[in-house]
C-alpha cells in the first residue's frame, strides 16, 4: 500500500502545481510510521530481538500474528475511509460530506444492531453484508433528501445529512435502550484496533478492493463532480456511476464499522487537505487521499498505544480530537477566504 502514496505519473494537465515533493513526503511519513507501528507495543518486538531471536522466536511470531495485521488494518482503514469521503464529496458535489455526516454510518450501525438482535451468532461476513445493505439504503435516502433540498448551500447539505443521521441514530439508540444493548453498542461502535490480529482484520481487504475500484473509476467520478447535466452531455451513464459510488461508500463504511468501529472526521478532513494541495482531479488525488488517510490512522493508532502504555486508548478518541481540530481549521480557513 505504500506505493499508492507516491504521486501518479499519468495525470491530465494539472490545475495546480504538481507538488510531487508533498506526495513524496506523504510516502516517506507512511513508511516511517509503519516502521514505528511494527515495533511499538506491549511485548518486546524490536529489530534487534528479531535478528537475535531468529525466525522461530516469539518476537517474530508476534510480528506476524499481531503487529503486521494491526498495521495493515490501520493502513486499510485510513486509505479506504479517505476514499469513501472523496467519492461521497463527488457524488453530492459538496466538500463537507463524508459517511459520518450523511447518515451512512448511522444506517450501517442500525444494520449492525439488527444483526446483534436477530442473528447474534452470525459470522462477520454476514454482519458486514447486512451493515453494507443498510449503508446503501442510507446513501440512497441521503441523496434523495439532498435532491429535494431546494437551495444547494455549502453548509445546508451536511446539515441535512447530520440531521438524517441524528434521526436514524435516535432510532438505533431507542431500540438499543429498550433491549438493554446501549452499553454494548457503544463498546462495539467505538473505533479501536486493540484486538486486531491475524484472522480478525481480513474483512478490511474488501474495503481495500473498493479503493482499487474507485481508482479505476476515478475519471468518471471527476466528471460526476461537475454535475448531472454535464456528465450526461459527455455521454456518461450518470446513474450507473452514482450507483457504483454508493456501493463503494456503503461497503467501505460497513467493513470498517464491523472490524474497527466508528472513526470520525477522517473522510472529511483528508480529501479536503489533499484538495487544497493539488486540486480536485480525482485520478490525481486518489493516491494522495489514500496515502494521507493511512498516515493519519497509523499515526493515531501509535498514539493510542503509547499514551497510556501498556493500556490502550480507543483510536476513535484520538482521531476525533485531531480530526475535529483539522475540521475547524478547514471551516475557518474557508470563511476567511470567502470574505
Amino acid at each position: 500500500m505504500t506505493l499508492t502514496a507516491s504521486a501518479p505519473t499519468s495525470a491530465p494537465a494539472p490545475t495546480r502545481p504538481r507538488r510531487t515533493w508533498v506526495g513524496a513526503l506523504i510516502g516517506a511519513c507512511l513508511v516511517a510510521l509503519v516502521g514505528v507501528s511494527l515495533f511499538v507495543g506491549v511485548s518486546d518486538v524490536s529489530p534487534l530481538s528479531l535478528l537475535t531471536g531468529g525466525p522461530d522466536s516469539s518476537a517474530a511470531y508476534l510480528l506476524v500474528a499481531s503487529r503486521i495485521p494491526r498495521t495493515l488494518a490501520a493502513i486499510l482503514v485510513g486509505a479506504s475511509l479517505g476514499i469513501a469521503g472523496l467519492i461521497m464529496q463527488m457524488l453530492v458535489r459538496n466538500r463537507f460530506v463524508e459517511p459520518g455526516t450523511t447518515g451512512v454510518s448511522e444506517f450501517a450501525t442500525l444494520g449492525m444492531l439488527v444483526t446483534i438482535v436477530f442473528w447474534p451468532g452470525m459470522a462477520v461476513v454476514g454482519k458486514m453484508g447486512v451493515a453494507a445493505v443498510f449503508g446503501l439504503v442510507g446513501t440512497w435516502v441521503f441523496l434523495r433528501v439532498v435532491r429535494a433540498v431546494p437551495v444547494r448551500q455549502l453548509v445546508l447539505v451536511p446539515l441535512v445529512g447530520i440531521m438524517l443521521g441524528g434521526v436514524v441514530g435516535a432510532v438505533t439508540t431507542f431500540f438499543a435502550y429498550r433491549l438493554d444493548l446501549l452499553q454494548s453498542l457503544g463498546q462495539w461502535a467505538q473505533g479501536s484496533f486493540a484486538t486486531v490480529m491475524q484472522g480478525r482484520y481480513e474483512m478490511l481487504w474488501v474495503a481495500g478492493v473498493m479503493v482499487v475500484v474507485a481508482w479505476f473509476a476515478a475519471d468518471r467520478f471527476s466528471v460526476i463532480g461537475m454535475g448531472e447535466e454535464f456528465a450526461t452531455n459527455l455521454g456518461l451513464d450518470y446513474r450507473r456511476v452514482v450507483a457504483v459510488g454508493m456501493v463503494i461508500v456503503a461497503v467501505i463504511t460497513a467493513a470498517v464499522l464491523v472490524t474497527a468501529g466508528m472513526i470520525p472526521f477522517l473522510g472529511l478532513v483528508v480529501p479536503n487537505v489533499v484538495s487544497l494541495i493539488i486540486g480536485d482531479n480525482v485520478r490525481r488525488s486518489i493516491p494522495w487521499v489514500a496515502g494521507l488517510g493511512a498516515v493519519f490512522v497509523v499515526g493515531c493508532d501509535i498514539v493510542a498505544r503509547v499514551v497510556r502504555f501498556p493500556y490502550e486508548i480507543p483510536l476513535s478518541v484520538i482521531v476525533g480530537i485531531v480530526g475535529a481540530l483539522l475540521f475547524l481549521w478547514l471551516l475557518l480557513r474557508r470563511r476567511s477566504r470567502a470574505h
Binding site: 507495543g41 499481531s66 490502550e312
Partner: protein, 341 residues
C-alpha cells in the same frame, strides 16, 4: 413561598394517612401481641444508613436516615438483586421487583404472582402504590428513588456499604432480623465466610491472576479496588479484594469497566490464571461462549493461563450484575473453586 403545591399536599396527606394507618395496625398488633404470652419482641426493626441527598450528578451530600421497618413484612418490593437473592435464600419471597432484571437463578425468590416494579433505575410508582407493599428495598442504581418510594411504604437502601463482605454481612444480618430468620442468616454467613476462606487458600497457591471483561470483541483488564478503601470494590475488584487473587498488574485504574488492552498485553503480562467475565452474556446480548470465541486465538493460546488450562469463565450475571446476596456469593465461591483440583 405561599403557594401550596397540590402534589406536595396530596402526597403529604397520603404519607400521613399511611403513617396513621401503620400506627393503628401496629398498635392493634402490639395489643394482640401483648395478649399473647409468648410474643415479647418488638414489631419493628430500625435501619439507618447515610443517604445521599444531593442530586445524581452532584457532589454527594450524606444525611443519616433512619427508618422503622415492620417485622415479617407481607409484601416486599426489592429493586436490589442481592436483596432478592438473600430474601429468597432465607426462605422469604419478594412480591415485586424489576422482573426483567431478575436473573434466572433468582427466579425462585419471586412470589408466584410477583408484579413488575419497574427497572433497575426507575420505579413504576402507580403499580407499587396500587400494590401497597409493607417494605421497599432500594440500592445502587435505584438509590435515587428514595424520595418517591418512601411516600408509599417504609423504604431502605441496602446498597454498597464498605467492602463486599461488610455489605454482605450487614444486609444478610438485617434481612434475617426483618424476616425473623436470624439463625438462618447467621449460619449462611458462617458458611459463606468458610467458603471464602477456602477459596482464598486455593488462590493463594494459584499464582498471579488477571480479570478481563470481554464485550463486543474488545478486552478490558479489571482492577483491584484502590488502596485505602474506596467504593470501586466491584466486579474485577471482587477477585482480588475478596478472594485474594494476586493481581498480575497492580496499577490498573479502578474504572468499573476496566482498561482496554490488547491480546499482546495478555501474553506479555502472562498471568497464571485468566478470569473472564463475559459482559455480553450478562446483559443478555450473546449466547454463552462468545468470550471463549474471542479468546480462542493463537496469541492467547501461548499464555501460561491457556497452557495450564486456567482460563476460568465466571458466571457473568453473578459477577457483573448482582452485588452481594447469599446465593450469589456462593456462586462466586464456586467459580473461584474451579481452579482447585
Amino acid at each position: 413561598m405561599h403557594i401550596t403545591r397540590p402534589i406536595a399536599t396530596l402526597s403529604l396527606v397520603a404519607a400521613s394517612a399511611l403513617v396513621l394507618a401503620g400506627c393503628s395496625s401496629a398498635g392493634e398488633e402490639a395489643a394482640e401481641a401483648a395478649d399473647a404470652p409468648t410474643a415479647s419482641e418488638a414489631e419493628t426493626v430500625e435501619f439507618s444508613w447515610d443517604r445521599n441527598i444531593a442530586g445524581e450528578d452532584e457532589e454527594p451530600e450524606l444525611e443519616k436516615t433512619t427508618v422503622e421497618v415492620p417485622k415479617n413484612p407481607e409484601k416486599i418490593v426489592a429493586f436490589e438483586m442481592s436483596t432478592v437473592d438473600t430474601i429468597g435464600a432465607l426462605g422469604g419471597e419478594v412480591a415485586g421487583a424489576p422482573l426483567d432484571s431478575v436473573p434466572d437463578y433468582l427466579q425462585d425468590a419471586l412470589a408466584d404472582d410477583a408484579f413488575n416494579a419497574g427497572t433497575l433505575f426507575e420505579a413504576d410508582l402507580i403499580e407499587i402504590e396500587a400494590q401497597q407493599p409493607d417494605l421497599i428495598v432500594i440500592g445502587g442504581r435505584s438509590s435515587g428513588l428514595y424520595e418517591d418510594l418512601s411516600e408509599i411504604a417504609p423504604t431502605i437502601d441496602l446498597g454498597i456499604a464498605g467492602t463486599y463482605t461488610e455489605t454482605l454481612e450487614r444486609n444478610v444480618t438485617f434481612l434475617g432480623e426483618v424476616l425473623g430468620a436470624e439463625d438462618e442468616a447467621a449460619s449462611a454467613l458462617e458458611d459463606l465466610e468458610a467458603g471464602i476462606d477456602e477459596a482464598k487458600a486455593v488462590t493463594a497457591e494459584a499464582g498471579t491472576g488477571l480479570g478481563v471483561m470481554v464485550s463486543g470483541g474488545e478486552l478490558s483488564a479489571l482492577a483491584p479496588s484502590e488502596q485505602g478503601g474506596g467504593s470501586a470494590n466491584v466486579r474485577g475488584g471482587l477477585l482480588y479484594d475478596v478472594f485474594g487473587v494476586e493481581p498480575v498488574v497492580e496499577d490498573i485504574a479502578s474504572a468499573t469497566h476496566g482498561e482496554p488492552v490488547s491480546f499482546e498485553f495478555l501474553l506479555e503480562k502472562n498471568p497464571d490464571t485468566l478470569w473472564v467475565v463475559d459482559r455480553d452474556v450478562a446483559t443478555g446480548e450473546a449466547e454463552a461462549g462468545a468470550a471463549a470465541e474471542v479468546l480462542d486465538n493463537d496469541i492467547v493460546k501461548q499464555t501460561a493461563a491457556a497452557q495450564n488450562d486456567r482460563i476460568v469463565y465466571l458466571d457473568p450475571v453473578a459477577w457483573y450484575i448482582v452485588y452481594g446476596g447469599i446465593e450469589t456469593t456462593q456462586l462466586l465461591i464456586d467459580d473461584v473453586m474451579q481452579i482447585a483440583s
